[in-house]
Symmetry: C2
Amino acid sequence: MTRDTDLIVQAQTRHFDTMLSLQFGSQLNGFDLAFETYGSLNQAASNAILICHALSANHHAAGYHTSESSKPGWWDICIGPGKVIDTNKFFVVCSNNLGGCHGSTGPISINPDTNRRFGADFPVVTVKDWVSAQKLLAESLGISCWAAVVGGSLGGMQAMQWAIDYPEQARHACVIASAPKLSAQNIAFNEIARQAILSDPDYLGGAYAEADVAPTRGLRLARMLGHVTYQSDDGMREKFGRELKSGDLSEGQNVEFQVESYLRYQGTSFSKSFDANTYILMTRALDYFDPAHAFENDLAATLADTQCSFFVAAFTTDWRFSPQRSKEIVDALVSAKKNVVSTLIETPFGHDAFLLPIERYLETFGAYMQTIEI
Amino acid sequence: MTRDTDLIVQAQTRHFDTMLSLQFGSQLNGFDLAFETYGSLNQAASNAILICHALSANHHAAGYHTSESSKPGWWDICIGPGKVIDTNKFFVVCSNNLGGCHGSTGPISINPDTNRRFGADFPVVTVKDWVSAQKLLAESLGISCWAAVVGGSLGGMQAMQWAIDYPEQARHACVIASAPKLSAQNIAFNEIARQAILSDPDYLGGAYAEADVAPTRGLRLARMLGHVTYQSDDGMREKFGRELKSGDLSEGQNVEFQVESYLRYQGTSFSKSFDANTYILMTRALDYFDPAHAFENDLAATLADTQCSFFVAAFTTDWRFSPQRSKEIVDALVSAKKNVVSTLIETPFGHDAFLLPIERYLETFGAYMQTIEI
């Protein structure tokens, strides 16, 4: 397949020579951020949008890397000319989170202090640290204030954190399918995923890359589990039901349900392309995110100094971050007398819905983005 | 602690010399069933209740094994003198399912044909096979008709199967926190549990016992995952919240949430006491259970020839087998013009609620049991 050359994008990497002090006390002695941009920054630098990715995604949010690529960036349905985040209007930036495994400094990078890979010694990073790193990227791109910071799931948490930490440097925050903090059930699923990785004999205390192996069994299980939590019971019933991939249920020989085969395929393919230490880091960042913790669990007080307008979207069948969790954010914003537009989208597609072309979602989200002045 | 001697129970084992033909075509050349009984069989043998256990339980449903035991049987809250299933009135029988690992013939048993453990070669068993085996046990105990067959979760499926397969041999069926078949999401969770076990290097194709090892890492993950699905988001929030077991969330060092520590403990302790091949077998039996499959997915037609009365109970926050799944059973029974009493119990405790002393549940269930004539 040959693509319009406009849709071909190239990743960039920026090195920061800064000593970055992390939330939990460690420091990074310089770091790289991989990122992509779409559209053009206007002269006033007033049309820049920051896209924040979720757990397992990266900076390749839109377009294609080559004219032969079969898969576009992870949010291509939303980002592009004439799309919800219209690149004819906006200059869109998406960076790989610090600690990631797609070009930004992370566990697979060489630690300049030891000349060996960081591995499990990579410091704990938090949503707040990601925002600090993104802030340096913004400065280096000449952006002093984002028109909007936008993200789904863990990305939505980054949008919230931007609004809290840099109230004058984002005019809008779009918080989609997100939550103000994880529930015990959310943490439990993350912990099972981590234990799957940590108990894989090939994890080797995190130093697997040095030994040229990888805990793919554990990572595969972690991803299979993630997948189930991203989808709804209804959505899976609609997509797979009890359909068989092979065998015959009346004979019981070699019976394989479609959903089993699908999950194994997803797990195996992910386990070959993602770093296990990064997966552990990202799930920890999710668990630790709790901006209201420093405000005696008062979310309205936490958001009191924010200045941006908010767009908060939730999906009816999302049980990972249910509509109730978005409502907590909206209620806190209302109680703090902030501008907020909120929407609840009817869909069977669970948490994954934020990545899917659902008409009502794209319309509502698009309408909000159109109100943003540049 | 010293117990009243009335509460001390002893497990029994009965050997059956029968050639048992299994649903999917294999045969077992003789087998053992481990079981316990509570109360006394009356002369007419009209007061016998069969208790069917769920995935990971066994025949030890009530009382204590020794006067020093600290833990009673798994359904002791329901079974005993003056309790819901009153042993002053009923003679209660509970057997370990075929394929189990607590005394009934299963993967850890010696295959008489090879003089080696069955291991992964143990034939696939189904809910229907369990019922066939329980039927032989009933005959050997002189019970030609159960006053009731009772079970929660997978046990409820056995109660349904009894009503379908032996309509004249059970006067009541109590189907608690159960479902007419698994959903794609249910199967998905089971498949992740199985993959955790199968991908443990110590699984050794199922022949781990011969090598004197065990896939405890995989079994531990399987159990952790099971546990999360047995509890509700609300229940876990109430029980654990985001409380820390150790560390300090503002410093991020050695942070361990209570829920993580709890899950690891549960997983580790289970992995030392349960057989991995049995776990795989039991989850497969769950996945394959689908009595309406042979009736073109018409559950009312499936239940058309049943003759017993039904008690169907569901719990509001059970998302493993949600109230909607019980409603499917009730709707089919109503449509087939059967006697059915159904109840929905308000509780935060999810699927596990069927094992817990919830007042309204015990009252409703007890009231039903009192209507049973002997």
